[in-house]
């Protein structure tokens, strides 16, 4: 009886999971399908899911019209660069918060997190002016700096959660064994925390890749990443759904592939510390 019940609830949960996943994935699927339609079919009042004339013309148009690979390269530099720079700052910060705590550590961590609750537009003017004055507008360096600052609280928190799980005694043992702080971090802490560091890096690459507020405001042509590339298909000449979809597909596919291959690592990273 109990078995029957648990089977029944298993089926219900599975159906529920698939339904929710389907709902989340549907817009992406719709975008992908639309990218293979003609513009006429894309704006048709009775759109068809699969029964239409499949075409690659949108992709060739998009590739001919805009320098996709330049944008792609900008996205790579900005997301990977900001994640690596962020790690460089976040690792020592998280180390000190996890292992050299004082009574203000918790407040500091909460304060860092609270900065994520501020709507970005709240600091738009000062950041824009700073960027203008330091000639950082439309530069990859500028974007790397902004992305690093935006994602730093998340990086510090993720690493802090990881580091907290590492027994204190292992680091103390390394100190007894003659290791200084740098050796302790490089030879002991980092190798042990490698899975956590990898998932922090991955998540931040994804966040930075998808960030669209600052990238649209602070870039024009030179440093514009793929988000700006998508946006360029949305306005001046009216909406071209099929081309916009093709551009979107080309922008999200690399990160989808990265996410797909690293999903185990990511899930472990995000749920780390939640259960023993």
């Amino acid at each position: 009886m109990a078995n029957k019940n648990s089977n029944k609830s298993k089926i219900i949960y599975t159906l529920l999971a698939w339904t929710i996943s389907g709902m989340i994935f549907f817009p992406i699927l719709w975008t992908l399908i639309t990218s293979f339609k003609t513009e006429a079919e894309a704006i048709s009042a009775s759109p068809s899911l699969f029964m239409f004339d499949w075409t690659l013309v949108n992709y060739s148009d998009v590739l001919n019209r805009s320098p996709y690979f330049d944008h792609f390269w900008n996205s790579v530099v900005i997301s990977v660069g900001s994640s690596l720079l962020g790690l460089l700052i976040a690792i020592p910060a998280a180390w000190s918060m996890a292992f050299v705590q004082n009574k203000r550590t918790k407040n500091l961590l909460m304060w860092m997190l609270s900065t994520k609750m501020l709507p970005p537009v709240g600091v738009l003017i000062p950041i824009y002016l700073l960027f203008r004055d330091f000639s950082l507008l439309d530069t990859k360096l500028g974007l790397v700096i902004v992305m690093t600052l935006i994602n730093l609280p998340i990086m510090v928190w993720m690493l802090y959660t990881y580091f907290k799980e590492i027994p204190h005694e292992i680091l103390e043992a390394s100190r007894m064994d003659g290791a200084g702080i740098v050796e302790e971090i490089f030879h002991v802490l980092l190798p042990i925390a490698l899975p956590g560091i990898a998932s922090t890096l991955l998540l931040n690459v994804i966040l930075a890749w998808n960030e669209a507020f600052w990238t649209l405001i602070l870039t024009a042509a030179n440093a514009a990443p793929l988000t700006a590339f998508i946006a360029s298909y949305s306005s001046p000449e009216g909406l071209f759904y099929a081309k916009l979809s093709a551009a979107s597909a080309m922008a999200i596919v690399p990160i989808l592939i990265l996410g797909w291959f690293s999903q185990k690592q990511l899930v472990r990273g995000l749920s780390f510390g939640a259960v023993k």
Binding site: P167, E172, M176, D177, G178, I192
Partner: protein, 345 residues
């Protein structure tokens, strides 16, 4: 060399004084055990000696040099932790080599030292394994191996056997004692297990509430405990304590008799009671006897004890085995056993 001197050392966490001003001299080559209940400050003091915990005031001298502010890496001490604290990402070989690499020892010498440690600790077959693939006893051996290759001036052990099962604990206890005999290096060993303290130590320091109650050889503490706390902590099963009625001119407020000094007798003894739970251990028997007005007394009898639950028994003890304590619990020196009036029957 490995003499360690503590001079008026204290430790406070905020307003809480975990170590009250404390002096202790640990001689070169000595095996000293810090023993006491949980939270008595013994591990904190060990960590202060290691340098892992700051000293609030006072001085720690190692080989005559003030090391109070010296970082742990520079104190020349090695520590074995309760959780082994091995580096999980390194092989046994690299775990043992880690302190040598930090000290920039030549690779050939590192190999030689690893080989000799592996031989002493029977780790030869496991050198290329990761700690996760080893049993608890093997891990503890690796931790000891990592400590001995450095040839430290003293070893610090922080409850190293508490994570092992009972039989392995006995074996490792012997191995550590053996190691001490062969290396003749100072060892400071923290435990809450008085059996470990009694069996391994040259000297024992009994801790209670951040102070050292008494320091002495195991037999000194057993025979002449300075107070009720030490008398109760050293010896297994625990000493029986009996409160007594105050008598004019006699400061005795309680007396103590060890279970092994209480005898069941046919004649009229000092106390009469009813046998409660009987624990047969084979070689010996623990009797728990309920005595009216006194409480439950534990008696250590031989293995072939014929008594049954509920039997009426008389108990006695020779006068010179009964300890007297005053109202502060301090042992009263060489008090002769007066009359039976002191026993609250």
């Amino acid at each position: 060399m490995g003499s360690i001197t503590l001079k008026q050392v204290t430790k406070s966490f905020g307003d809480v004084n975990v170590i009250k001003p404390l002096d202790l001299e640990i001689k070169d080559g000595e095996f000293i055990v810090f023993v006491g209940p949980s939270g008595c400050g013994k591990s904190t003091l060990l960590r202060m000696i290691a340098g892992l915990e700051d000293t609030s005031s006072g001085n720690i001298e190692i080989d005559g040099n003030d090391a109070t502010k010296t970082p742990p890496a520079k104190r020349g001490l090695a520590m074995v932790f309760q959780s082994y604290a091995l580096y999980p990402h390194m092989s046994v070989r690299n775990n043992i080599a880690f302190p040598l690499k930090r000290a920039k020892v030549a690779p050939a010498e590192i190999e030689a030292k690893i080989a000799s440690a592996a031989k002493i600790l029977n780790l030869g077959d496991y050198l290329d394994r990761k700690p996760g693939q080893l049993s608890g006893g093997q891990r503890q051996r690796v931790a000891i191996g990592r400590a001995i290759v450095r040839q430290p001036s003293a070893f610090l052990f922080d409850e190293p056997l508490s994570n092992l099962d009972a039989s392995l604990r006995v074996n490792m206890r012997l191995e550590i004692s053996e190691l001490h005999k062969s290396l003749a290096t100072t060892m400071i060993y923290v435990t809450h297990d008085q059996v470990e303290a009694m069996t391994m130590a040259d000297r024992i320091a009994v801790f209670n509430g951040g102070v050292i109650e008494q320091v002495g050889t195991p037999m000194e503490l057993y025979r002449n405990p300075v107070n009720r706390f030490v008398a109760g902590f050293i010896g297994s099963p625990k000493m029986n304590f009996i409160d007594v009625k105050p008598v004019d001119g006699d400061p005795t407020r309680s007396i103590g008799v060890r279970p092994e000094h209480l005898k069941v007798t046919q004649e009229q003894g000092l106390w009469t009671g009813k046998v409660g739970v009987i624990e047969h251990l084979g070689s010996e028997t623990f009797l728990h006897v309920h005595v009216d007005g006194v409480g439950t007394l534990t008696i250590k009898d031989d293995g072939e004890c014929p008594l049954q639950y509920g039997d009426q028994v008389n108990l006695t003890a020779s006068q010179n085995k009964i300890m007297h304590f005053d109202k502060e619990g301090v042992t009263l020196a060489s008090l002769s056993w007066g009359d039976n009036a002191v026993v609250a029957q």
